[in-house]
């Protein structure tokens, strides 16, 4: 699962990275967003969305995206 701040919600980590990069000599960087990635193996993929809602993401301020990587694969 990829979990990112919703559009319009403050992203202080992204802002910090965006300010830090020019100081390290990296120019031409914009729209930095920092989110989380959760990888797991699950027997029943229908559990993934409720997991995101209840534990992994904060649906008030975060969006999540679910990517399935095959069945019985070790992702």
């Amino acid at each position: 699962m990829l979990i990112r701040p919703k559009e319009g919600i403050l992203d202080p980590q992204g802002e910090a990275v965006e300010r830090a990069l020019p100081a390290l000599g990296f120019d031409g960087v914009a729209n930095v967003h920092v989110g989380r990635m959760v990888e797991l193996e699950v027997e029943d993929e229908h559990q993934i969305e409720p997991m995101c809602e209840k534990l992994l993401a904060n649906p008030l301020v975060e969006d999540y995206e679910i990517q399935l990587i095959g069945s019985a694969e070790t992702a």
Copy 2:
């Protein structure tokens, strides 16, 4: 960029999630790993790897994966 703990390095967030999910009624979950996702727009894509090395990831304990999403796209 997707940034994840290296194999064999402790992943306390992943362990916490793996312990918490059964308590919420989610069973059959294994190998939970929590990492970070950084999205940004950059003019010169060759800057991305040194950015990861210098600021975004800790190469001692983390691996990173770079995914390019088109040119002049807002990712």
